[in-house]
């Protein structure tokens, strides 16, 4: 393991660069960064493993399916943030849909199941487009309840949907966080290697 403090150039041309939460300091100073030392330049592989492990878990749980991998394939140097951009749009839209669904069902005299069906179709479509398998499946069940004008069933389905969506969002946030750390850690490597 290299001692980061000793490697690299002594001049402070690198200076300090801020990356949001993380701060990278030139190697000549004692490393005081948002990332633990072992992550700087050395932990890229570890992070990559973490990302794979998280993804594998999500696949195993059926939370994500291969469409998510397809999205990753669409990301490259010319479009390096594609996945997170699309997912963020998905989050934004999904939360709006969930609010609408919640709003519809809070009305005791609710009867517009057709409208509910439209929201659900939208939610199903976007979920399937990003590979959110479990969320999509709950939407399918939800839609079935709505087609039967089953208000109680819809309420139950909505609870489950909110739960699944929350879980998905948390896990994806975690995934993007690790990815961001990996990018940073990989970036730090370069100056050190000279």
């Amino acid at each position: 393991m290299r001692d980061i403090r000793r490697s690299g150039r002594r001049d402070s041309t690198r200076g300090e660069r801020k990356y949001g939460l993380f701060q990278v300091i030139s190697p000549s100073r004692s490393a005081k960064t948002g990332l633990p030392l072992w992550l700087l330049g050395l932990g890229v592989d570890r992070l990559r493993t973490d990302m794979s492990r998280l993804l594998a878990l999500l696949f195993h749980q059926g939370v994500l399916d291969e469409q998510f991998l397809q999205l990753q394939q669409l990301q490259d140097e010319s479009c390096p943030n594609f996945v997170s951009e699309v997912i963020n749009i998905y989050f934004h839209e999904s939360e709006k849909l969930l609010r609408n669904l919640r709003g519809l069902l809070s009305d005791r005299e609710f009867s517009d199941y057709k409208k509910m069906g439209i929201h659900l179709n939208q939610f199903m479509g976007s979920s399937s487009s990003i590979g959110a398998k479990r969320v999509r499946n709950v939407c399918v069940a939800f839609r079935a309840a709505s087609e039967q004008n089953n208000r109680a069933g819809c309420l139950r389905a909505l609870e489950l949907l909110e739960h699944e969506y929350c879980y998905l969002k948390n896990k994806l946030h975690e995934f993007f966080q690790i990815e961001q750390q990996r990018v940073l850690a990989a970036g730090v490597r370069y100056p050190i290697q000279n």
Partner: protein, 223 residues
């Protein structure tokens, strides 16, 4: 049919003023019009197409698609088709005008009917698929759309190009054809026939007469 339409269209384009006819150059890249009301899906399809070397215009409704293509329901005029769309890919379920209705409108338009239309849907409903194909859709993709789907579409167009340049005979289409014959055209042989009579020459071996999933006969190089 397609060739007639394509030729007539080319003439129209030539005659429109201020219009760039560097058609041959600009046609190296396929221009796709994507129609989907879902922003997530638009982003994905846009990226899928771009990564497959297509130019993309994405709109959120059938109405906007028609406006882009130059037919507005209110105006009922055919605008110049200089925007040169080579393929239209549209979602089926959309508020307002569905993909199916958009397909019909496109096929009803003499200016646009040769543009291949592909329908996307999250539902794999056979009657829906059949209906779309009957109406003249080139293909039907079940969502979520993948790279392999887009690649297949591109292959369609490449194949049709190749076919078309080799295939100088008349072509057949179930649809009623628009009559055109322009003596000033020297690029194509004068064996172009108008009307819906079938006039297969020996080289049109790829033409299927009765199948709803007929192969596309147009070429995008003429657009």
């Amino acid at each position: 049919m397609a060739r007639n339409g394509v030729i007539s269209r080319r003439i129209r384009s030539d005659k429109i003023e201020g219009f760039e006819i560097s058609a041959m150059d600009s046609q190296k890249e396929v221009h796709v019009l994507a129609v989907d009301d879902s922003l997530v899906d638009r982003k994905v399809i846009e990226r899928l197409l771009k990564i497959s070397s297509c130019k993309v215009t994405a709109v959120d409704s059938g109405r906007r698609a028609l406006q882009f293509l130059g037919i507005d329901e209110e105006k009922k005029t055919v605008g110049f088709d200089g925007l040169k769309v080579d393929l239209i890919i549209t979602d089926y379920c959309m508020p307002g005008m569905t993909g199916y209705e958009l397909l019909k409108k496109i096929k009803e338009s003499s200016a646009l009917r040769e543009i291949p239309v592909v329908i996307m849907s999250s539902e794999n409903i056979l009657t829906r698929i059949d209906r779309c194909l009957e109406e003249g859709a080139e293909d039907f993709i079940v969502k979520p759309v993948k790279l392999s789907d887009v690649k297949r579409l591109r292959d369609y167009m490449k194949r049709e190009d190749k076919n078309h340049s080799e295939n100088r005979g008349g072509t057949v289409n179930k649809r009623k054809l628009r009559e055109t014959s322009d003596p000033s055209l020297s690029t194509y042989p004068s064996s172009i026939s108008s009307s819906s009579s079938s006039s297969p020459s020996s080289s049109s071996s790829s033409v299927e007469l009765d199948s709803p999933t007929r192969r596309l006969k147009m070429t995008n190089t003429d657009l």
